[in-house]
């Protein structure tokens, strides 16, 4: 469970940093205002939807961190045989990274009011994300036909479970991205969809980050890292 505790420590740091700016030591009982001095409007100027997505990503982060926690705890038991990493996973990783880059590009073009370029960026992002999902399905097929079925070994079970959960999150993101692309086609100015594009890009970067961590986990590098940490601690 140490992985989730480290994650929560990070969240706690963010919350503490935020709360430090909220005048928590003020004395509200002494600070009644009169009509003239209108109180400070202390709501953040960041768009509400963006803050909402940020909070949601914290929840998604907690979810995957808990899966990873469980993975490490289960891995310590006797019957664990690591699953091989098919070469196709490298290709998928690159495709997902491309998707992320394309959405970032779409966002930059939208800020510059280049609507055509933005649409192209969104389309590339959409296509590569679908490509990633299809690629993941091929990885599953490859592993199954090589005999690494779900219930055979906990390593296999975790691989299918966690990649499946990641895929579901990409699928959910695709719904939002699809709607954004649709809106982008009907909007005259990029300004109207800029926020949506920005949110999609943010979500995609996060899911790419999650995927890189998961990939490291399955490839076994994360284990080496944990071993090093353990040796340092003991």
């Amino acid at each position: 469970m140490s992985v989730i505790l480290i994650f929560l420590a990070g969240i706690a740091a963010i919350i503490t940093w935020w709360m430090a700016q909220q005048r928590l030591t003020s004395r509200p009982w002494l600070e009644a205002g009169s009509v003239g001095d209108t109180p400070r409007y202390d709501v953040s100027s960041i768009p509400t939807a963006k803050i909402g997505l940020g909070v949601f990503l914290a929840v998604v982060g907690a979810l995957f961190t808990l899966f990873i926690s469980a993975y490490f705890m289960r891995m310590g038991l006797q019957d664990w045989w690591a699953i091989p990493v098919p070469g196709l996973l490298w290709v998928n990783t690159i495709v997902l990274a491309l998707s992320s880059v394309a959405l970032q590009w779409a966002k930059i073009e939208a800020e510059k009011h280049h609507i055509e370029a933005m649409r192209t960026g969104l389309l590339i992002g959409l296509a590569t994300a679908i490509g990633f999902l299809v690629g993941q399905l091929f990885v599953w097929r490859e592993l199954v036909s090589a005999g690494y079925v779900l219930a055979d070994n906990p390593a296999n079970s975790f691989f299918y479970l966690i990649t499946g959960m990641h895929g579901l999150h990409i699928l959910g993101g695709l719904v939002a991205l699809g709607r954004t692309t649709f809106k982008a086609w009907h909007a005259e100015q990029p300004g109207k969809v800029l926020l949506s594009v920005e949110l999609c890009a943010m979500y995609w970067h996060f899911m790419l980050l999650v995927w890189l961590v998961l990939f490291a986990l399955f490839a076994g590098w994360a284990n080496d890292f944990v071993d090093i940490c353990r040796q340092l601690l003991t």
Binding site: M19, T25, W29, A32, G33, P39, V43, S44, V59, L161
Partner: protein, 592 residues
Amino acid sequence: MVNIPSSIDDTVPAAEVEDVELYHPHSWWTTYVFSQDAKVIAIQYSMTALAIGLVALVLSWLMRLQLGFPGYFTFIDAERYYQFITMHGMIMVIYLLTALFLGGFGNYLIPLMLGARDMVFPYANMLSYWLYLLAVLVLVAGFFVPGGPTGAGWTLYPPQAVLSGTPGGQDWGIILMLTSLILFIIGFTMGGLNYVVTVLQGRARGMTLMRMPLTIWGIFTATVMALLAFPALFVASVMMLFDRLLGTSFFMPAIVEMGEQLQHGGGSPILFQHLFWFFGHPEVYIVALPAFGIVSDLISTHARKNIFGYRMMVWAIVIIGALSFIVWAHHMYVSGMNPNFGFFFATTTLIIAVPTAIKVYNWVLTLWRGDIHLTLPMLFALGFIVTFVNGGLTGLFLGNVVVDVPLSDTMFVVAHFHMVMGVAPIMVIFGAIYHWYPKITGRMLNEIMGRIHFWVTFLGAYLIFFPMHYLGLLGAPRRYYELGESAVNPPSAHDLNVFITLMALTVGAAQMLFLFNLIWSLRNGKEAGGNPWRATTLEWQTPTTPPPHGNWGKELPVVYRWAYDYSVPGAPEDFIPQNQPNSNRLSMENAS
């Protein structure tokens, strides 16, 4: 809207704050059924939670009948008894308390108390309720499928939860339970995002964080905790569903059942316990923190005095929220662990008593020399303080490893958690309903029925749970279908069980009176007016009662002061609403 403030320190007149675009319903269906209005969603959440809570109440009656009169009720066999226990626990903790505090009070109070028109993501808010309803329906479906609901205990520990010896283990029961939990968590996440982001972004002008009523602080902190803790239950549920349906071995060790080797092997039941309690302990405070917050406001309002130590109260809420994430293994002392871990978790557990005690002192000091009105909300608030202290004290016993080991799995634990997280939060829920019902419906609840309800519930709860501590010390184990003639069940203990059962039936009957009161007062209650308790917080300052869609009419309120200006010296009345600026009071003081 004339203009929009261009910078945060802009000093334009207050009313011209940027307004949100509201969703406006067009038909009866979108107004009352698929509504995106937080107040309607709150009522939907509350009604559903109360309805399913009623099921859990009946289940507790059945369990008590079995314990008090073993053998008389032939339709209660051991399997049924376990199913009743499981469903009673799960419903009460998750589908009643969590849903009612956050989905019910959260939805109703957050926008109103903060001076917002609605939640920030109304559509997700609506989906949240419908997923919750679906989760409840899936849960209830367990009663109607072959094999009945799961009887694994509310903690659902594997491997027994998915074995054929447990009711519902190899039938539909456990599948429906896990599915229902997964749906609940997805739905809750949608609602939870709303509660958190509305507190962050939806506040009216002048409503700084340190001017928020403690109710909002409690709900806000509890929601942040729930958003981070519920994923653990989600992960555990999904993995157990895989074990049950797809034959994986996340939690399932190698097992021989009925002489047959099961296909599972190597899994770790302890892993499940870690995940479950990583959610399960914060869950206690997810229920308790909103109760803490609400009770602070009830006490302050009905004692006509500002809350003692407001800042300390806020900090205590946040600190309790943070600490509750590092105590989970105190539920696992008897599962076997490194003694050093036991020591660590006992220490963190006992440290939580410090901020909690600060809160209790502050409540008592708020009452000290206050102008205490023994209204119904105040009675329940006082009942809460006493009950919470009682339940908390036995928690100090159980937090210690050496005391917990012999007491674990006895009725002592049952008595402890029913006092501290059953009766105590329920007291607050009742107090809160008596307090806010006039705002929701425009009418007061009937006073006489309310007083009968309070005294029967309050005294009855003690008559039920105090003897249970004694039974636990005697060694009577929990979760036993019947004790028979054994050393831990002398005739005196059996008589006590009969007594507890009679009390449980009585307290349950008092709840029927409460439900009747809720319906009866809708038409026959006294007209309440806009602010019957003469309270300061914003929800009592709405132009009309009950508040309409959009809450505030044309102009959003502006907040000039904190929520606890009661009995301010020199003020014309004994309360000053949060949206009233200072000038009147100053001129008054100058004149005198």
